[in-house]
């Protein structure tokens, strides 16, 4: 693993007490700098759509186009009633867009912030949280599709929907760890963003976003129960559709979150100071 550090300093050593202290301070100061990460997140979105007439509502419009076109084609393909399939697709795609958006953006979090990191002693966590902020703003734009689709197809929301809130909270916590790991490694290894992109593509197809686990039968167990993407998708999407997620999904999501932090925290503590050297 010496290759990770780049400098011939021998084996990968466990973070020292000082490393841990500085990493903890980085994260606390990063979280407290909410004005910076909200402003950066908002500016990211604002800048992307600045010169277009529809502005950031292109986010909503794109999602509407996708749900409408894919909804029609796949309901025919899967032989499913459209009033049943389109609401499912709208909810799943909204949540999946959040997950995949965070993973995609995580690969460039520090590289994109290079000019800041090289000049000032800013907490690195700011740029991790910025990715989350940006994608939550996108979620805010996409989520308006859901009530519209429900209205159009006569789906009545149930009180179970509030379960989506703790689900989303857990997803965001896990996303922090994912972004920390991915942004750090992607700064060091510049081929990794492409690899992550490809894995994400595969994850989209093996996760029940476009399809229902029932359609696959027995083997769905492996794709749904063991797949962390499916777990995080279900703990947010299922309640919105009026289903209580099964305990297995929560267990998977919780365990995945713990594992992610067990990797992210030592990795960040050890290499936090090296990030700026890799830019």
């Amino acid at each position: 693993m010496a290759a990770l550090d780049g400098v011939a300093m021998g084996a990968l050593v466990w973070p020292t007490k000082r490393d841990w202290r500085l990493a903890a301070s980085d994260m606390v100061r990063g979280l407290l700098a909410w004005e910076i990460w909200t402003l950066l997140g908002v500016s990211d979105i604002r800048q992307r759509y600045k010169r277009s007439r529809l502005g950031q509502f292109w986010i909503t419009a794109s999602m509407a186009f996708f749900v409408a076109s894919t909804g029609v084609v796949y309901s025919l393909l899967f032989n499913q009633p459209i009033y049943d399939y389109v609401p499912l697709l709208a909810v799943n795609m909204t949540v999946w867009t959040l997950i995949s958006g965070i993973v995609t953006d995580s690969t460039t979090a520090f590289v994109q912030a290079g000019m800041y990191l090289r000049q000032d002693a800013l907490p690195k966590a700011i740029f991790v949280i910025r990715v989350l902020t940006r994608n939550l703003i996108i979620l805010g734009h996409n989520i308006v599709i859901i009530p519209l689709v429900f209205l159009a197809f006569g789906v009545v929301p149930t009180p179970v929907a509030v379960l989506a809130i703790p689900g989303l909270a857990l997803l965001i916590v896990a996303a922090f760890a994912v972004t920390l790991i991915s942004s750090l490694l992607c700064t060091r290894f510049r081929d990794l963003p492409q690899i992550v992109q490809n894995l994400l593509q595969i994850a989209f197809f093996v996760t029940p976003v476009l399809w229902r686990p029932e359609q696959i039968g027995e083997s769905a167990f492996y794709l749904v129960a063991l797949n962390p993407f499916a777990a995080f998708l279900r703990i947010v999407a299922d309640p919105l559709r009026g289903q209580v997620p099964d305990a297995l999904a929560y267990a998977n999501a919780l365990l995945s979150t713990l594992i992610l932090f067990a990797i992210a925290l030592p990795l960040f503590a050890r290499f936090r100071a090296r990030i700026v050297y890799w830019l």
Partner: protein, 248 residues
């Protein structure tokens, strides 16, 4: 109390070529045959080499040296952006680093929006930054231009705006990489006044420049850098003399 203490601080920046940065070659290196005795994929640049230095309030440090001698990297250690790869740097006090004053400005956003965006990085809250917009509009003489996107600005106007925002806060430690020349003659004088005011209020100043007159005017101590090492430390007069005798 502001202070900067470097102890045997070294900054070694690994430069990965395309192969060194790739994940594949790292895997291949492990599964492949014998390892190369020296790792030819990584070139290490020692930008700052084993510097021990301490600055206390009242110090006005001049950094002197050729291009690539390590002045900017040393300033970046002072700002806390680079933590030494070996050795330590302890920085206490708030830092205002005017190394790249246009940092974080966004061409698509308006001047006013950029004041807020840049303002939070120099330690303002969003509200404080918003309240400063009229004052900055007046001082920078940009007035109604602040409502236009930054991409419509000339480079001089951009610098004026960046300078105006970057200098609104007085901090304990002031870091400068060359004095910033902003705008036409009238404006340059105004900018100079503002930066002198900042220097006066700062506990510690570190200024890198090739202009010996400027260094003599503002600094009371100098270090001469060569290939990342401090080769001389003393009064500004002595060090500038040594530097020019070397260059000759």
């Amino acid at each position: 109390m502001a202070s900067i203490t470097l102890t045997n601080a070294t900054v070694e920046i690994p430069i990965y070529n395309a192969r060194g940065r790739s994940f594949r070659s790292n895997i291949l290196r492990h599964v492949g045959g014998r390892l190369e005795p020296d790792n030819r994929d990584v070139v290490i640049v020692r930008a700052v080499n084993d510097i021990t230095l301490s600055l206390k309030p009242g110090d006005r440090l001049a950094l002197i040296g050729h291009n690539g001698a390590g002045k900017s990297t040393l300033l970046r250690i002072f700002s806390g952006a680079y933590e030494p790869s070996t050795g330590t740097a302890e920085i206490s006090g708030t830092v205002s680093s005017l190394l790249e004053i246009t940092m974080g400005m966004d061409p698509e956003l308006t001047g006013a929006e950029n004041i807020v965006l840049r303002g939070v990085f120099v330690g303002l809250s969003i509200d404080e930054a918003r309240r400063l917009i009229p004052e900055i509009a007046e001082w920078s003489e940009l007035g109604e231009y602040l409502a236009l996107p930054l991409r419509t600005y000339s480079s001089g106007m951009l610098l004026r705006l960046a300078f105006a925002v970057s200098t609104v806060r007085h901090r304990d430690i002031l870091l400068l990489d060359e004095l910033i020349g902003v705008g036409d003659m009238n404006f340059a004088a105004k900018a100079r006044q503002r930066i002198e005011d900042m220097m006066d209020r700062a506990d510690i100043l570190a200024l890198a420049s090739h202009d010996t007159n400027i260094l003599k005017q503002y600094c009371n101590r100098a270090i001469l850098l060569r290939q990342g090492c401090v080769v001389a430390d003393g009064s500004v007069d002595d060090i500038t003399r040594e530097y020019s005798s070397q260059s000759a």
